[in-house]
Symmetry: C2
Subunit: 185 residues, 2 copies
């Protein structure tokens, strides 16, 4: 399970509340690990019971109070332990691939709009990633050399960019294949 560890990383980068974490999971961390606020609140509770994180009530003005979590020594140790143990390489899961293989039992051409929709979604993500790269890593490049944390964040982002580019190219291949099949007998 990596949700706990993803939360530890995020809280080490900057302490925050469950709500703030759920926002972060919509952007940077969420590029490679998604989580809803339900999951986050539940896991935060367990992590607190396990002594991995501390809570602090933070009164706020103009908005409801929040609970700010920060990583404890044992939490940091738990992350270290996990970093040193191997994880299995992920297997991909693509609904769309199932659909493409299933299309032969229905109408392949009916999939074209769906594939185009996916292509658009991936193109949007790519644009978003590229904007983030421009903002966080390219702009200050010449004058302020990046520290190790930024280098590592950047290489992860480059992975996201490569993934989206590859996916878009593949979806173009899929579309070409579907169009080629259309005028068949």
């Amino acid at each position: 399970m990596a949700l706990e560890h993803a939360i530890l990383v995020s809280l080490l980068e900057k302490p925050g509340s469950g709500y703030e974490l759920s926002r972060r999971f919509e952007r940077s961390i969420g590029y490679f690990w998604t989580a809803t606020h339900q999951q986050i609140y539940r896991v935060l509770k367990r992590m607190e019971q396990d002594g991995w994180i501390d809570v602090r009530d933070v009164p706020q003005q103009g908005r409801p109070d929040k609970k700010e979590y920060s990583v404890t020594g044992p939490g940091r140790a738990a992350l270290s332990g996990w970093l040193h143990e191997p994880v299995e390489p992920e297997s991909v899961r693509h609904d769309l691939a199932v659909k493409i293989r299933g299309a032969v039992f229905d109408d392949p051409a009916a999939l074209i709009r769906e594939v185009e929709r996916h292509r658009q979604a991936h193109a949007d993500r790519l644009t978003h990633y590229l904007a983030g790269e421009q903002r966080d890593f390219t702009g200050a490049g010449a004058e302020a050399p990046l520290d190790a944390g930024q280098e590592l964040q950047h290489v992860v982002l480059r992975g996201g960019i490569a993934y989206e580019r590859m996916t878009i190219a593949w979806l173009d291949d899929v579309l070409a294949t579907l169009h080629r099949l259309r005028p068949a007998p």
Copy 2:
């Protein structure tokens, strides 16, 4: 949920038992959708109750008897329905990306072996995919034109190949970054 639908596709391609399905999920279908035999047996039971599939007891010689499942009319209709409704584009989930971002709170160099291990696993998968492509799609290309089902299987396989190539290139990028960070103060 796509497991039901992946099973429908696989059973439409060729009827089979739960055991056979679990073997298929280790190879072709499993390239983009994994499932253990536990999941498969449980889902097969539900699908049978829902009338999506039929069972037939098949006595065998030299091995235990099996139950062969095949798709019914309602099952085929359920697949059709699913093919026509949109699915959300997947979000990636990468333990490794979490580890890379977390490495800055530990020792980045300690990740090198882990990343190399992943690189090897992806290189193995790529070799496997390429062998499958050679066997199923390239060999008979000139004389026997592919039918629609084969074309669609091929484009899905090309997706797997593109994914592995992209991942290997990215892991090389990650390794270069980790090596670059090593001689830092």
